[in-house]
Symmetry: C2
Subunit: 198 residues, 2 copies
């Protein structure tokens, strides 16, 4: 039996991010988990890696991203759950959220990043897709910064990053099991052989 | 010390989905994890819940979605790892992937859904955002179908769904720990009080 849920969005969990921007000249951070991946850049010659963040138009950070056409996406680990949740419940208009973190900058002067986050990306805004009450900022990833202890063989390792995963339906953060479930594009090849052997 | 990763996308993990469409009149499924959430519909009066899927233009399924302006998003559990990975390595042009599943339909005749998946959404295409080599289909969620054993108090429960989470960087699927890490918008409120008490 199937229950109809009135079109509720069940596309969770999503990585919880701290989005950084300059607002009125000062660094600010807002918690955003309504994110997206548009393409796989390296898979299409000359393409850029594009990601999206959906930010309510009324948030304090939104105008800063619009003004400077830049933002950062910082991935907090589970250890930062308090700071991360706090940045989602408090406005930068009232509180200086940047003082919670050690901030660094890369190539873009309007994309403050968080030293305490294992992985940070700085993004140039290439487009704004407007949806009622939301600005969906489409960003090209200009550079990605990782702490050494977040990498395995030079690649971001989710077991080390321990991302905080957001679930809007039950209002929970989730964590990953430390071991992967399996290998992409291997399991399916084995299954294909099995199906053909039938 | 920070390592620069040449702008690699580190915005993972993402829920792995089986996207359903009618292609040349027949149901087909393709594995897609480059998905996005654009907004939170109920948070903006009269807004629709919009999600995105980034699909390579050359995939067999792409033209089917373009032709019919509809698709489904099915969330496989960890138990479906073989079928899910298989649907990402085999083209519907050559193999009948729909035969792996029990298919059902809701309101949209061109959005076949998978009975074996705990949660399924049928979507109407409201826009196509074109990126080099990719069609990013923006879909309005028309209806969401959940199996009873995927729900807690009427809401999708990730501990019961056990979604397969995709990681492009290490080519792994990951699973969730069965207990949430914490409550959204509570931890931050407690932290706020603590900061003020300082």
């Amino acid at each position: 039996m199937r229950t109809k849920l009135r079109g509720v969005n069940a596309l969770y969990p999503a990585p919880t991010t701290l989005v950084g921007a300059l607002v009125n000249g000062k660094p600010n951070f807002i918690t955003i988990a309504h994110i997206g991946i548009l393409n796989y850049g390296p898979g299409a010659e000359g393409a850029r890696e594009l990601i999206s963040i959906g930010v309510g138009k009324r948030h304090y950070t939104t105008q800063g991203i619009r003004d400077n056409r830049a933002f950062s996406v910082n991935l907090p680990s589970e250890d930062l759950i308090r700071e991360t949740d706090y940045c989602g419940v408090v406005s930068g208009e009232k509180e200086d959220k940047a003082s919670l973190f050690t901030i660094f900058y890369g190539a873009l002067p309007a994309a403050p990043m968080i030293e305490e986050c294992p992985v940070c990306m700085e993004c140039r805004v290439v487009d704004i897709y407007e949806v009622k009450a939301y600005d969906v900022f489409i960003g090209e990833i200009v550079e990605t910064y990782a702490s050494e202890d977040a990498l395995t063989e030079g690649k971001p390792d989710l077991a080390k990053i321990r991302p905080l995963l957001f679930d809007m339906n039950r209002r929970k953060y989730w964590g990953l099991r430390p071991e992967p479930v399996g290998d992409c594009w291997r399991i399916g090849v084995g299954y294909k052989k099995e199906l053909r052997g039938k």
